[in-house]
């Protein structure tokens, strides 16, 4: 009798433990530069990430398990990002890490996270960040620099039919590598830029550089930089010179913070930048259904009024968590190998920012067809109109 009682208690205990584990929160690490020089996009992405977690938990979590977001502010510093990545893995025991949110930090953390075999959803656009062989569990939902560059080059060469191109980049690692990649892509198309310059991003006046580009005969200026101040100085120098040359380039040239820095609103005319079909009004002024729905759902969290920053950051943050949810559901848990398999098998996963697809050797989930060119002067409620074609 006693033995039966003990056995019964043991069964109850084990069952209890098992059911307790079944209800344990799934811990998701979130490495984000919430402060520091690259915080603007991260703060917006964080809104999307937090909202998605809240939404999933309100709907009962994933198979009954709530998501627990473990956020670490990397202060835009790669060393801090590495330290926090280790902390998330070894101390917080997270099942998956989202972030870091820029290429500089990602370059430093990806090898560290990959070494421990933790699945990683990264938000950095430098092409070299992902590698299915070296970092098999690092998946990228954001587009790559190549996709931005190819779209901008196609617009400048084939739509605007310009051939005399001035390529400008800043002297940061990101600015330099992107400007060089843009130049190489143009040369592949048989176009040698008439003017190429790498400029210190803190240079307070770019009139001389724009004048040099003009003197070189440039009929389109293509700036590649993620620095708002630098881009604003390009736009202001062009406007102050009264030079109505088209500018086609990096999305920062139409980002919401830049609009406040231009000397006159008209300076935003004739500026086009790489954007997203999901964040673009159609001919009738309508947005894709998923984008509109997310805008309305999250609007109260963004202040309630018109959205005053690039909404794609919010949508991207939202999608990273939704992608993680999809992988955990498909894997039936948080086993790292199963999560990798689930993400590799992901085809046509419809997010708000894009529809994603990965493969056994494919770690870039963002499809080329989701890239469009937008008009900088058409910003409204966080999104843009398509550039004329």
């Amino acid at each position: 009798m006693t033995l039966r009682l003990i056995a019964f208690s043991l069964v109850l205990t084990v069952a209890g433990a098992a059911s307790g584990k079944d209800k344990e929160p799934i811990r998701i690490g979130w490495l984000s530069s919430l402060t520091g020089p690259q915080s603007t996009s991260a703060i917006a992405e964080n809104k999307g990430v937090e909202f998605a977690v809240e939404e999933i938990n309100k709907a009962g979590g994933i198979n009954g398990r709530p998501l627990q977001l473990v956020t670490r502010d990397t202060v835009s510093d790669p060393k801090t990002a590495v330290n926090f990545a280790k902390q998330l893995i070894f101390e917080e025991k997270v099942a998956l890490i989202i972030g870091p949110v820029n290429s500089g930090e990602s370059l430093a953390t990806i090898p560290v996270v990959a070494k421990e075999g933790v699945p990683n959803i990264i938000i950095g656009t430098v092409d070299e960040l992902v590698d299915a062989d070296k970092y098999p569990r690092a998946f990228r939902p954001i587009n790559t620099n190549r996709q931005w560059i190819e779209a901008a080059n196609e617009y400048a060469l084939k739509v605007l039919k310009r051939k005399k191109i001035a390529v400008l980049g800043d002297t940061t690692g990101y600015g330099t590598s992107t400007a060089k990649a843009a130049t190489a892509a143009l040369e592949k198309e048989g176009i040698k830029p008439v003017y190429t310059a790498l400029i210190d991003q803190n240079k307070t006046d770019l009139t001389d550089e724009l004048k040099k580009a003009k003197d070189a005969g440039a009929d389109v200026v293509m700036p590649w930089s993620g620095n708002t101040g630098f881009m604003a100085r390009v736009v202001n120098a062009r406007g102050d010179m009264g030079w109505n040359v088209p500018i086609v380039g990096h999305p920062t040239v139409m980002a919401a913070p830049l609009r406040k820095l231009v000397n006159k609103p008209a300076y935003l005319d004739n500026i086009f930048a790489a954007g997203y079909s999901s964040m673009t009004y159609d001919d009738k002024g309508h947005l894709p259904k998923a984008t509109k729905e997310l805008q309305e759902k999250i609007r109260p969290k963004l202040g309630g009024g018109e959205i005053d920053y690039s909404f794609w950051w919010v949508a991207l943050g939202y999608d990273t968590v939704k992608l993680a949810e999809h992988a955990i559901r498909a894997a039936g848990g948080t086993d790292p190998a199963a999560l990798q398999k689930a993400l590799e098998n992901t085809k046509n996963f419809a997010g708000v920012y894009a529809t994603y697809a990965y493969g056994p050797k494919e770690r870039n989930g963002f499809p080329d067809k989701n890239i469009v060119i937008n008009q900088a002067n058409s910003f409204k409620d966080g999104v843009y109109r398509a550039a004329p074609r």
Binding site: Q38, L198, D200, K203, D208, G229
Partner: protein
């Protein structure tokens, strides 16, 4: 070419203003505080805030920026300099002023964000003025006015003479009854106010941006070392030379060489003339 010259002169004027701020602090304390650039940063950020948020008229906003700079200077002395100087002869002020500068920058980033914010026009003028645009001439005129003002202050006022006395020999000055702590505090207030003024006047070049201080601290120091520590003429010449050379290097060689040229200039001058172009090596009888 003229564009490079004027544009270089304008940014050089800002470096010269930072060098003048260093000079005033150095005269009474022999400290080259790393927070120098932050005083100008605060002038720009607060100036833009006063105008855009509170709709202050420009002169009032300018006075506000000068006041904020002065308070920041006073706090620098109080928190990062006075106690360090009293307790140690070592150059620990380098760390304390660096810490103070970093804290200030972080606080500004947290309160105003990390994106640059627009700085309004100081005098009514269209944007099509080319090289006559105020964004070039305001920093240049400000640097000249600051240098002239500080020279007049040294030569024509009692307090100015006390600054010079402390600069010559702080121990002798104290022995003769000069309240050295108060004079040093006053020098920090004045230097802070100068930085606030310069930051306001250069706001259209730099935007109201939390991270501009580090660049100004570094380039202001280079301008000072090239021109000669303690010389206001040297600060102006050093700043102008640095600004024009940097702009020229960026234009003719490429932006990636801009910093190499500015630091190279410093090394060349220090090798050929260690006291700087206008600095005097003081021989002290012992």
């Amino acid at each position: 070419m003229l564009t490079v010259l004027i544009s270089g002169l304008a940014s050089g004027a800002l470096f010269a203003a930072a060098a003048l701020v260093y000079n005033v602090m150095f005269s009474t304390s022999k400290v080259l505080g790393v927070q120098t650039g932050q005083t100008a940063m605060l002038g720009g950020v607060f100036g833009a805030w006063f105008i855009r948020t509170f709709h202050f008229p420009i002169p009032l906003a300018l006075l506000g920026s000068i006041f904020v700079g002065g308070v920041f200077g006073f706090l620098t002395d109080l928190i990062a300099v006075r106690r360090v100087l009293n307790r140690s002869d070592e150059h620990l002020w380098l760390l304390s002023t660096l810490a103070f500068a970093t804290i200030t920058q972080q606080v500004v980033a947290l309160l105003w964000g990390t994106e640059p914010l627009p700085f309004p026009r100081v005098v009514p003028q269209d944007f099509s003025a080319g090289l006559l645009d105020q964004k070039y001439w305001l920093p240049i005129l400000t640097a000249l006015a600051l240098a002239a003002g500080i020279e007049l202050f040294y030569r024509r006022t009692l307090y100015g003479k006390l600054f010079l006395a402390m600069s010559e020999d702080p121990f002798a000055a104290r022995a003769r009854g000069v309240p050295t702590d108060r004079i040093r505090a006053l020098s920090y207030v004045i230097s802070g106010a100068m930085g606030g003024l310069a930051g306001f006047m250069a706001g259209q070049l730099t935007f109201a941006y939390f991270a501009v201080g580090i660049t100004l601290s570094l380039n202001g120091f280079i301008a000072l070392a090239v021109g000669g520590l303690g010389s206001n003429t040297g600060a102006l010449v050093g700043g102008a030379a640095l600004g024009i050379l940097s702009a020229g290097a960026s234009y003719f060689i490429g932006g990636e060489y801009q910093n190499t040229v500015s630091v190279g200039l410093l090394m060349v001058v220090l090798l050929l003339k260690p006291a700087g172009l206008f600095g005097a090596q003081v021989a002290r009888p012992v």
